[in-house]
């Protein structure tokens, strides 16, 4: 009897507690309006890590507002997903049949999502023959004849340099090293790049330029070539610069990019999107851009497709937004927001743009020699291969293993992974 009474009392107490918590969370205005239609307006979420960029983020949100004002049937709102965990978060959501309706992916995550069938095919939604798409980057948007994405941003890598510190940019690797060494004194560093495992995706982007710039590549399309002599040469150059202490060791990208904007870093290899971001941080910085002075003119490119989530209940409405984005006037506006990046279609830079940013042509001229930062032939496995390579290269940077052994280990582990 007593036990029965205590059970009943505890159940009542627990119910009261749960009710109070539910009421409390009710005060916190739970959302119930994700996706879907509301009063004839379909609300879509668009996730892009770019929304968090100083300079570019606010302008992109204004660009979305232009779409929202252009019609009354579809409303696109920016979904804030933090950049450090963007791919992991969005892929988890999509894998469980949820997530944003529209996503701007980076290539490794795009390939993984495509391979897993998480992206809606666009062939029946968008007639691409109506648009003058840039052929080189666009070829990577199609898998086995199925179009999975449209280029949102294509951005080639080049060498950014502080024109107040460097009057004549280096044109050879030897000059590059010398310039970095001569600039490094006091609180100024000659160069900056990512070198910590916490920034795995960023390290991969950075070492890509060294590998390809020294004639290497991650695969020949059929087999992995992680430990090839060319790759070793390129990554040895990366390690030599790290060992020479010409970079702010331990500084993450957010920190050293701020340092570049404040004139504390002389050179940085980065993509065209960095132009607007740097101006957003310091409009007065006198900087310029030149091709990366490595032996081989081959470098990475950020290809960022916009895709529609296969789980989205409003694919047609999402396609409406992409079709609007592909209109020439909106492509031009997008390109101006993205800085020196290219967009999906062939666009002409205005004389005002070229006058304001004369080095835009440098980026445009690099399009033919730029490659997406994926492992060709093993596209969907790129995130896993990236993890293995970065872990081993960083172990070599930290001196726990020599670089050749590190690359041999990476080759072995990655080969086992891909089978």
């Amino acid at each position: 009897m007593g036990l029965h009474r205590i059970r009943r009392s505890m159940a009542v107490a627990t119910s009261v507690m749960c009710t109070s918590v539910a009421l409390l969370s009710g005060c916190g205005s739970d959302s119930g309006s994700d996706g879907g239609s509301d009063g004839g307006v379909t609300t879509l979420t668009f996730a892009a890590s770019t929304f968090g960029d100083p300079g570019r983020g606010p302008q992109l949100e204004k660009w979305l507002d232009e779409f929202n004002k252009s019609q009354s049937a579809v409303r696109v709102s920016a979904a804030a997903v933090p950049y450090p965990t963007f791919g992991q978060t969005v892929l988890t959501q999509m894998g469980s049949g949820q997530g944003p309706d529209l996503i701007r992916f980076d290539m490794p995550e795009f390939e993984a999502a495509s391979d897993a069938g998480l992206i809606a095919p666009l062939d029946d939604l968008i007639d691409v023959s109506k648009y003058d798409l840039l052929k080189q980057p666009d070829q990577f948007m199609v898998h086995d004849g199925r179009r999975d994405g449209i280029i949102f941003e294509a951005s080639n890598y080049a060498m950014f340099y502080n024109a107040d510190l460097i009057s004549k940019p280096p044109t050879t690797y030897e000059e590059f090293v010398e310039t970095a060494k001569s600039l490094t004194k006091g609180d100024v560093y000659g160069l900056a790049f990512r070198q910590t495992e916490a920034e795995e995706a960023g390290v991969w982007q950075d070492i890509f330029n060294y590998v390809y710039g020294f004639g290497g590549k991650w695969s020949d399309g059929k087999n992995l070539t992680i430990n090839s002599p060319e790759n070793l040469k390129g990554l040895q150059a990366y390690k030599d610069l790290y060992d020479a202490k010409v970079i702010p060791r331990g500084a993450d990208a957010a920190t050293f990019r701020r340092m570049f904007a404040e004139g504390k870093v002389g050179m940085e290899l980065n993509n065209g999107g960095y132009v607007t971001a740097t101006r957003g941080q310091n409009p007065d910085l006198n900087f310029s851009v030149a091709p990366i002075p490595f032996p081989v003119r081959s470098q990475g490119a950020i290809l960022a497709p916009i895709v529609i989530n296969e789980a989205s209940p409003a694919k047609e409405e999402a396609a409406t937004f992409i079709r609007w984005a592909l209109e020439p006037a909106n492509q031009l506006k997008l390109q101006e927001i993205l800085g020196a990046s290219s967009v999906a279609t062939v666009t002409q830079r205005s004389p005002e743009q070229l006058e304001e940013t004369p080095f835009l042509k440098v980026f445009d001229d690099l399009t033919e020699s730029s490659l997406p930062q994926i492992v060709l032939g093993f596209e969907a496995k790129t995130p896993d291969i990236r993890k293995i390579v970065v872990q081993n290269v960083i172990a070599a940077l930290q001196g726990t293993v020599d670089l050749k052994t590190a690359l041999d280990q990476a080759q072995e582990q990655a080969t086992q992974l891909v089978g």
Binding site: S20, S31, D34, G52, R56, P82, T89, R258
Partner: protein, 276 residues
């Protein structure tokens, strides 16, 4: 007399050192938030805040986003604390006072849940929450945080109840107290310091939680501050002063809650200490 004074001085010094270590990160956040861009990367670090830069706090609050994040974090943390304590007390009591088949197994299973990293549970819980329509809601986050913190709350409270002599409960029963009265009038006041300690654990767990919050919440308006702050970290740049300003505001409610709870911990420990 002299050794006494030296001892006192050493103790004061030790307290100041410990205090300095504890408070320094907060101080450094203020200094960084209140630094100009040129000061941030100067050869000699700025050691005192530049109050001329105070506008960064106003700017951070201006859009109202930061206040919204803090309110969401508060709802999640208070909800988690209330739910985990509310369920943890009867669970701890049952484990302490009742004998039932499988009791040892239940205790081990509770411990086992503490060994699973959150990241491992994200995908299965995401699917589960989707089925029960708990995604993109603060209620869902309260539930998942409570599920993670409840075992440790229950085990701590079980240990506290173990330390209460059974004779006290028996005396109350002799006086006609019902079982729930015994729990609420006898045990709960006696384990108040432990409840306060577990409340701190539950509150801080929920306040700082990031992995579930970033994955389960889609709507910016209901993101907690742990995720909101991370939104400042862009692909190509991060406004460091703004991040530090919001991060400083993020620490304050947690510190206030800790100070409030700590008073109860200390009060409970010293209660009755001077009575005969």
């Amino acid at each position: 007399m002299r050794p006494l004074r030296i001892g006192l001085t050493m103790r004061i010094l030790a307290v100041l050192v410990v205090l300095g270590v504890a408070v320094f990160p907060l101080y450094w956040m203020i200094v960084t938030a209140l630094s100009s861009n040129s000061d941030l990367f100067a050869e000699e670090a700025r050691l005192v805040p530049d109050f001329a830069q105070f506008g960064v706090f106003i700017d951070a609050l201006a859009e109202g986003k930061a206040l919204g994040w803090l309110r969401n974090s508060l709802v999640i943390a208070v909800g988690t604390t209330a739910l985990s304590i509310g369920l943890g007390i009867p669970l701890g009591y049952a484990l302490s006072r009742f004998s039932f088949w499988g009791k040892a197994f239940v205790t081990v299973v509770l411990l086992f849940t503490q060994m699973l990293p959150e990241a491992l549970m994200v995908v299965p819980l995401f699917s589960l929450f989707r089925r029960f329509d708990l995604l993109d809601s603060l209620t869902g986050l309260i539930l998942v945080n409570s599920a993670f913190v409840l075992p440790i709350v229950a085990l701590i409270l079980k240990g506290a109840i173990d330390g209460i002599p059974r004779e006290l409960e028996e005396s109350a029963r002799v006086d006609g107290a019902r079982p729930l009265t015994v729990l609420t009038r006898i045990n709960v006041p006696l384990i108040a310091p432990s409840i306060a300690a577990t409340a701190v654990i539950a509150f801080f767990h929920a306040w700082n939680e990031y992995v579930f919050a970033v994955t389960f919440i889609f709507t910016p308006a209901i993101q907690p501050a742990s995720v909101g702050i991370a939104n400042f970290i862009g692909e190509l740049g991060t406004p460091i002063q703004t991040v530090m300003a919001v991060a400083f505001m993020f620490t304050l409610p947690a510190v206030v809650f800790y100070l409030f709870a700590q008073r109860h911990v200390v009060a409970g420990m010293t209660a009755g200490a001077v009575k005969g």
